[in-house]
C-alpha cells in the first residue's frame, strides 16, 4: 500500500451516492470533478474567483489536457483529500499536479496533521486561458499570473 506525503493545496471531498456507480466505487469521470473543485478552491485561496474573473476579464480557464492514473478505488462515505500543486506556469496555460488520497482514521482534520494517506488517483491537468466568447486561446491576465507561484 502506497503512502505519500501530501503537498501543496489540500481540499477535503466526501464521497456521496452521486459519485459512485454500480461497481460500488467512484465512477472514473468523477475524480475530474473532485480535481476541478480542488483547483477552484486553490484559486480562491489566492483571491481568484472565477465567476468574477469571467465578468471582469471576459476570459476563463478551460482544460486542455489531462493525464490520470487510477491506483485504488474510493467507495461511498470515504473521505478524500484532494491536492493541487502548480508545476508549470506558461503565458497561456498552467499545469497542475493533482492527487486524490484516502484519509485514514488516524488523521485529524487539521492540515498540519495530514501526513500520510493512501493514494487513490493522481494526474496532471493543463488548463489554458481562453476568451469567453470566442473560446480562442489568449494570454493569462497579468494579475492572475502575479498571484500564482510554482
Amino acid at each position: 500500500m502506497q503512502t505519500r506525503q501530501t503537498a501543496g493545496f489540500q481540499w477535503p471531498v466526501r464521497v456521496y451516492w452521486e459519485d459512485t456507480d454500480a461497481g460500488g466505487i467512484v465512477f472514473y469521470a468523477n475524480y475530474l470533478k473532485f480535481f476541478e473543485r480542488a483547483r477552484t478552491e486553490w484559486l480562491r485561496s489566492l483571491g481568484i474567483e472565477q465567476r468574477c474573473l469571467k465578468d471582469s476579464t471576459g476570459g476563463l480557464f478551460v482544460v486542455a489536457e489531462t493525464s490520470i492514473r487510477y491506483h485504488r478505488p474510493a467507495r461511498l462515505d470515504d473521505e478524500l483529500i484532494v491536492t493541487a500543486s502548480l508545476i508549470e506556469k506558461g503565458r497561456a496555460s498552467l499545469t497542475i499536479k493533482q492527487q486524490a488520497l484516502l484519509k485514514t482514521e488516524q488523521q485529524t482534520t487539521g492540515n498540519a496533521d495530514v501526513q500520510a494517506a493512501t493514494l487513490l488517483c493522481e494526474g496532471t491537468i493543463r488548463i489554458g486561458w481562453v476568451n469567453a466568447s470566442s473560446l480562442q486561446p489568449e494570454r493569462i491576465p497579468a494579475a492572475i499570473l502575479g498571484s500564482l507561484k510554482t
Copy 2:
C-alpha cells in the same frame, strides 16, 4: 407489475455506468436528466432548437417545478423509453407529463410496436420561460407557443 400504454413523444435512453450508483440502480437525480433529454428531443421534433432559440430570442426555458414518483429501479444496460406529453400550455410556462418505462424484450424498436412497458418513474415538470440575462420570467414567444399543441 404495471404495464402501460405509452403516449405522446417517445425517446429511447440506455442506462450506462454513469447513471447508476453503488446501490446498483439508477441514481434518482438522473431520471431528471433522462426527462430533460426527452423534452429537448420533443421540442426538436417540433422544430425548436434551444441553442438557436437562446441566440435568437435571448430567452430560455428553466424548470420551475417537478413532482416525481419512483416506482421501480432501472439498472445498468437497461433500455428505457422516456415520454413527454404537453398537458398544460400557459403564457409563461408549460407543464409536461413524463414517464420512464422499461423496454421489454418483446418490443421492437419501431414506435408503432411499443405498446406496453413497465413503468419505472413518472412525473410532471413545469418549465417557465425566462430572459437569459436577467433570468426573470417572461412570456413564451408566440412562435414557440404556435408550434405546441396540448
Copy 3:
C-alpha cells in the same frame, strides 16, 4: 425577495463548474444531489453511516417520491445552505423537507448566525427502505427509527 428562517439540519454546499449548465445556472437535477448530500450528512450526524448500514443490515434507503419547487437560480461560486428536516416517520418510509438557500454576505459560518437567507429551491423527499438485493420494500430497522425524531 423571500427570506426565511432556516431550521433543522444544515449543510453547506458550494456551486462548482460541474453543477452549472450553459444557461449559467445550476442544472435542475443537481439540486437533488445537494439534497442527497444533506440527507446523508443529517443521517451521519445521527450516527447512521449508509455504507456500514448496507453491509450490516442488507438494506438501503431509496427515493420513492420528490416534489420540488425552483424559486431562484444558483450560479457558479455561490455558497448554499442545504437543510433537511424529518417531517414524517413511517415504518417503511421517511419524509424529509429540504431547502437550498443562498448564503448572504452578512452571514458568518457558524450555524447560530445563519438566520436569514434567500430561498432558491425547496421540496419534500420521501425515502423508503428496501432490501439491497431484491430492492423490495421492507420495514426500516428499529435501530434506525430509534435514532430519528421528527
Copy 4:
C-alpha cells in the same frame, strides 16, 4: 481546422443541458462519460453485456489510466461521433483509443458516409479487469479476449 478519417467503432452522442457548464461548453469530465458510452456499445456490438458479465464471471472492467487532449469545445445541441478502437490487448488490461468528433452538416447519419469531422477531444483509456468483490486485478476471461481483435 483539423478534419480526420474516423475509424473503428462509432457511436453518436448528442450534447444536452446536463453535459454543459456555465462556460457554455461541455464540461471536461463529461467527455469521459461519452467515451464510456462508446466503449460499452463497442463491447455490446461484440456480444459483451457488462451487467451479465458481472453476474456470470464476478468480474468487471475498471479504468486504470486515461490520457486526454481537448482540442475544441462542444456546445449544447451539438451532435458528436464518439469512436473506440482497441489498440492493445493484454492479459489483464485493454488500451482503447477514443475520439469525440463534431458531426458536420454535410454528413448523413449512415456510418458509410461519415468521412470527415472536426476533432474535439481524443485520448487513450486503459481498462483493467478486476474481481467485483475484492477489486483486485485478475486476468481477463478467455471468452472476452476471444471476442476482441485489435
